[in-house]
Point group: none
Chain length 205, copies 4
DNA sequence: CCTTAATCGAGACGGTACGTCGTGTCTTTAT
DNA sequence: ATAAAGACACGACGTACCGTCTCGATTAAGG
């Protein structure tokens, strides 16, 4: 045979690529250690040495494939624009998953961090503070549950409707969802709680 | 031998009881058709004839054991009281599940209706209308996403923290959650959108 | 639906035809009560009422399809011709079976009479007596094992090589077998034991 | 835990012993892969990896338990003694089988070699040659069907009456059978075809 | 530079569950 | 009463994976 034997990072990367490919082809429920080992042309033991079960393997594969969730604070010039930008980024990431991947990971590793929407709360708080600086809001002193509200709603919708997010046709639907979350729920609430003193209650477009 | 052979509803009930017992003892991930058949002293075919996989079996077992989600409209005399009552009922039902049951069902039968919080939207709309009749609200003409907001948030929290809901200690935590959902998010939003004309915007403590 | 319900002989004939068809299509090992019932468009109970297991069903199907083994004593004018005629008839019947049918019946119903070559001993004894009458033999007073020898050898070959007897190409092979049994074994032995007094011992070429 | 995991020959021997035990206890028809695996405390795959079905497993178990069919040429000093010795050995081996084992193997693996009486033709030819050397026969130039005649007849009887061979009472019956085959059929025939020139036709005891 | 310990690639092992098929019995409905 | 139909309790089938263990081959490191 040809090649030199793989070790360390090279081997690890091969395995994680194989795992991601298996998930994408067959779905998480049919992700098997055996299948990954076969596709990566290695032994099962090599995988078990690194990850205790398929849930941890899948999480590692997600991180390896998608990279870390970027958390830069957008600067579009308006509160609504900033929020829309950050939610859209979150939704885009969500669309790269296969539907069953969420559920499966929650079922098998509920305590693990799938990386789906955990960094955002800090970002949203920063966005709110920027809005205060621009005079769009009176203050940013909001209850935690309010701050995490848009991300929570988006994640919840992602969980409920993940099986539809994969299709291309979902793009407009998701865009509408983001608009609803902001215009029907979050912005009215934030303005009610911390709107600027001069133009308080005008929520209409 | 023992009496006559079981059929129809009697047999079905035995199987669903067995399935529920297996879930409660071993957890959903270790629910197996074989185990259920053995506990119910019947054959696997009898189960497969009725439910195509363990997910559908589990859903049927839930319905059989917990009964339908009651959807009477409470009449406590205040909007907050009515909402609290209905959310508490929903949370109580959620606590009867084992944590992994949610995740597993979502993973394996995402389209199926687990019965967790599906009847409520109509109930909440009725509660809002009663509040209008009492003069607590100016109107009940709210966007659908707003109406479903409290149930969505509660369900989302249930999904994220299901593994903690089982303990007795969770009671106070859940009570606090319900208060937060209502007082920090839903009531301020509803009052901002449809508060009564006479005492409109006073949400501050 | 259409027809009147079948009963008695009509029903029985339908079932036996179905059983034979199943044997011919799938072979005896894959003959199932369920398959027969389905093909005959009746219930399994109806079959079990008549035959205790598939072996007895198969035997009944054989008798029903092939009819009784005729046992007329041939009159060709010579001992060899008579024997050849009767052995050929026996072999022809054997060829109508599927190979596995023998083995299966022997395995599952060893005591039962499959009808394969059980009538013949008497016939052969009669043939020998006719030869005595014609002067070909001195007497017919032979040990039972000698009398049954040609049928035994033929049956044994049938058992050993049944899987080849089905093919058309087997015809010549079987004809050769019959000649060998008679010319190499049976006729030399019979002539040695009971040859005519005038031309007694000339067996050499 | 118990010692080291079994592999290779040790494992194979355990499985074949288990298979033979199952056959002896329950009979071939009730030999199941599952039962063998359970008795050998291993998995079904381990068995299927080695033998495609229970027929091949049974044949392997026979060989493993009974060992190869010895084929030494006996030297008793007389043609009849030599033949009797070799036939008796063959019958003894046959008696170690359970009756249904023959039939089942023939039914399910007709092409396979059960080892029952396949080595003998060469042995019989050697015995005949020894008889020629001693002057008992004029030559050993006999048709193949004649040479295989005693083994064929014995095997045929074994097949027909296997269900009775197991009992102890069968010993005398079998001894009589061997005598009949030799004294009524084979020896008269061989003497007729190749008897010594000086004392040709004396077959009586 | 060469031994030595570790890991790799591969696959067998003991085991659980799968989903299907067939058995022989039992029930129900409709002749 | 029995035919037709099919459900029931059961056992076995052959397959897929699990997580562990064993075995040579390779390879990186230390003496």
């Amino acid at each position: 045979m040809a090649g030199t034997r793989r070790r360390g990072e090279e081997l690890e990367a091969t395995i994680l690529d194989a795992a991601w490919a298996e998930i994408m082809e067959n779905g998480y429920p049919r992700l098997t250690m055996e299948g990954v080992a076969a596709r990566a042309r290695t032994g099962k033991q090599v995988i078990y040495r690194r990850w205790p079960d398929r849930a941890h393997l899948a999480i590692a594969a997600i991180r390896h494939t998608l990279g870390p969730l970027v958390s830069e604070v957008p600067q579009t010039g308006s509160l609504r624009g900033d929020l829309l930008s950050v939610l859209r980024r979150m939704a885009d990431r969500g669309r790269q998953y296969r539907p069953d991947l969420f559920y499966g990971l929650l079922a098998e590793a509920p305590d693990s961090d799938t990386g789906f929407g955990t960094v955002l709360p800090g970002v949203i708080r920063a966005i709110l503070q920027n809005a205060v600086a621009r005079g769009e809001l009176a203050h940013a002193d909001l209850p935690p549950r309010v701050v995490s509200l848009p991300a929570d709603l988006l994640r919840y919708e992602g969980l409920r409707n993940a099986h539809r997010w994969g299709q291309d046709a979902a793009e407009a639907e998701i865009e509408q969802l983001l608009a609803d979350i902001l215009d029907d729920v979050f912005l009215p609430l934030v303005l009610a709680l911390a709107g600027p003193p001069d133009a308080p209650m005008d929520v209409s477009p």
